[in-house]
Amino acid sequence: MNIVVLVKPTPDITKVKFDIEKGTIDRSSAELEINPFDLYAIEVAVKIKNLLGGTVTAISMAPPHGEKTLRDAISRGVDKAILLTDRKFAGADTLATSYTLAMAIKKLESFIGKVDLILCGEKSVDGDTAHVGPEVAEHLGLPHASFVIHIVDISSDRVVVETDYGDSYYQLELKLPTVIAVSRPLMFRGALVEPRVPRLSDILKARRAKIDIWNADYLSDVADMNRFGLAGSPTRVVKAFYALTSTKTPIVIKGDEGVDILIKILKEKGVLR
């Protein structure tokens, strides 16, 4: 089984600094790491490979320094990694990003044959859109499931998943090839999926591994180059603000008096009579 994992290098959201005036992030303030949701996609991809055999390829679209996160993916059990990097890819919104990733998957198929399963995290911690998985599926004409909390079972031609619809979790059977965007926590065949901590030997091996670098021209035989990057992006950010400027100054109460104030406030708010 050929598995592709879409991996997004994202800044560590707990460390990144924001430019409060401009509403942008200071890219130098935090290193790129694997989007936390994608760690689960990588782990489950490796588990599926161990179960059914095959290959796991990680694909990222990122600036050249995104290469480091792909090495991290290799240390976590991915066999092969491809970095899509080119100025022509820059400024892409989710439609252009998903198109580029979908075309890279097509290109990959010309080397390794049919890709059976595409895994990714349900969303990224920087973009927060949850668009890319479903859009990649649409570009490739495949079914997909997003917000998947459980990959119940998988065989060479189908996969059963539980997905969050909002009111309930539904069980779906998807025919392969398909796209699965995973949530966290995630279960695989009844057991909790825990992203591994790479061993030192794997980290060292990953350092020497070859990362394939693909540019826009390299995809020209499968893709419409006008659909890459900013040119292929229908949305534009017109302005942005830093949102967590909340400097609420709470009333601070210490000790037992807190109980009385708590009850008093709950009464004032109509929660208690």
Partner: protein
Amino acid sequence: MSWRGILIYAENYSGKVNSSAFELLGKANELKVRIGGEVSAITLARVDVDAVVQQLISYGADRVVVYKVSSDEELANQLIHRDAIVDAVNMFKPKLVLISATPWGRSLGPRVAAKLGTGITADCLDIYVDEQGDIVQVRPAFTGNIIAHIKTLTNPVITTIRPKVFPIPRPDPSKRGEVVVKNIEELNLSNDARNIKVLGVAKVKEVKLPDVQIIVSVGRGLRSREDIEIFKEFAKMLGGELGCSKPLVDMGWCEKDRQVGFSGNIVRPRIYIACGISGAPQHIAGMKDSEYVIAINIDETAPISKYSDLLIVGNMYEIVEKAIKKISEVKKDMLTT
């Protein structure tokens, strides 16, 4: 033909229209004044088509198109909904398409956008028309740290709107509208839709946290799994529900349905009581828009304090247990007198 009016998608995968559709209708009628054209609604239904139509009209749709499906399995197949929305877009040519940013809507919306080759903006908190007459979509990004204003250059503009942000308008049962009923078989369903088999409901959510008005949340301050019951009891006593932070879900102490935060539920209740939650950015992203926040924390400097209206410094167990005792005494008094 020019792109005019607004199309709202009324989510119905279970046989019941999600009430967030009425919120979209309210907002669409407000935007209609600036955007022009009509407010149309599209939905799918298996039974009770007339009732669904009347409901959508009474909440503000000028016209409704319903695609009739023949089984529950079809109704819960997202790609059939995608085909129906694409058909409705081709029929009405709306300037704007609104979809609720529920998990279902956030999975379906991008399929529609990519199929139509147009832009989509996720999980918006607001949408307005600027001085140039352009539609501007307002959404959080970077785990809620940034608010971005976004324009779409292509047609239609597709936006998913976070539920509970806009109010449900007052229904007008006397309102009349145009109705189109189509059988889903009339559409040439895409092949990918046939590659999904809906096996059924795996589990109904125990609690729908975004709908809850009073949330008592627990975090790492909790000492054991059993102790959850204390805080659950407190939540019930206040007519609310228990929430939790991510670490408790990761440890398997609490169900994911109760998780508040970026990777769980984004909530905006009337009252949010955070017990033993320090306030990691990913938790703040899930609760910062709550109307009134009470933090109970041993550490006065915990980040949560910056997002709280009332901070009670102390042991969360002592404070909550004493509060439970006092409240039940008052209740007992009321019963005896």
